[in-house]
Symmetry: C2
Subunit: 198 residues, 2 copies
């Protein structure tokens, strides 16, 4: 839960993009707790605009074709060369399901129908929320998009478990297979609060 950070620490609610100047008027900003608020915010010294920084949503899915799932090998940092379910930042103006399907199209040139909710991870150290759906691959046509160096369909025993890019991806895949064995489609919440070990 939000708390006021000690001086000299990096406040967990402010670990976002650089905020040195007001995006409204261009003047400098000060880190201060606005009246009625309980957390420090970047506030413009000139026009008074309060610049809130909030968690970003990452949307993804597990695309299924018969007994295989689609995974992408990342062509970009972070975690270049590691494997991931297709996922990325949600854009303004789209729904959760549209974001998940768009990311699959962009990263794997693959068309999916989004299904049930599978996993939701509060990634607190990165101030992100990852939302993952089950999905049905509409046809087995796909290819690597610009952010992927390879894309493939994998059976459970062939999933490269030791080379999964992010903890939320491993959580998602573990729950996917556990539910599939049990004949369920539950949803699963988790909190991931530690950066990756390199």
């Amino acid at each position: 839960m939000g708390s006021i950070p000690s001086p000299g620490t990096s406040p967990s609610n402010l670990m976002d993009e650089p905020l040195n100047f007001c995006s409204n008027c261009g003047a400098s900003v000060a880190l201060t707790i606005p009246p009625g608020d309980h957390l420090p915010r970047f506030v413009c010294r000139t026009c008074g605009t309060i610049h809130y920084q909030n968690p970003r949503l990452v949307l993804g899915c597990v695309p299924v074709w018969e007994d295989r799932i689609l995974l992408c090998r990342r062509a970009i940092e972070p975690r270049r060369g590691y494997w991931t379910v297709p996922a990325g930042f949600m854009e303004n103006g789209e729904s959760l399901e549209q974001a998940a399907a768009r990311e699959c199209q962009e990263e794997a040139n693959a068309s999916v129908e989004i299904g049930s909710l599978l996993a939701v991870a509060s990634v607190t150290h990165a101030s992100q929320v990852h939302v993952m759906f089950r999905a049905r691959l509409l046809d087995p046509e796909f290819s690597a998009g610009p952010e992927s160096e390879a894309v493939g369909l994998y059976r459970e025993e062939d999933v490269p478990w030791g080379e999964i890019a992010f903890p939320s991806g491993e959580f998602t895949l573990r729950r996917f297979y556990a539910d599939r064995k049990a004949g369920r489609e539950d949803y699963h919440f988790t909190v991931l609060d530690r950066p990756l070990k390199r």
Copy 2:
């Protein structure tokens, strides 16, 4: 899904806070599609920082005490004087459940245990995602926080249906009662794409 807006329109992915100047270096920004991207972004003309704008998360819950639920009458705009489930913007560094419980504490001085996922609304016109949980009020002690002008426990027949502040709140409450009648605790997704009529 994101698409490139016509000139002169207000791009749906850019309806956030004012972005005239670079928050990193203070120089002016230009609206342009960065290399490898597919949507216009505000990009600094001097240091090149790309300023992404993404949907914000609003977290809330339906706190239950015996056969009643807790509702708050808003003391602030928008929709001052209308009723809402306790809800508000998620902060960096907290989990979804922590955000929902914190908002209930702030708006109603009420302590809850967060339960199952109830409703998720992609509020596309506002570039927000609203996530609502069921919750158990831990004791029937509560009072209006600074953003509420009244807080109360209501039976279903006493819910002020005509005075609910936001469509996501009405969606949440309707599904809550429908599930309760059916003896279920399902989750419900919706897309809300039109601003409120005033």
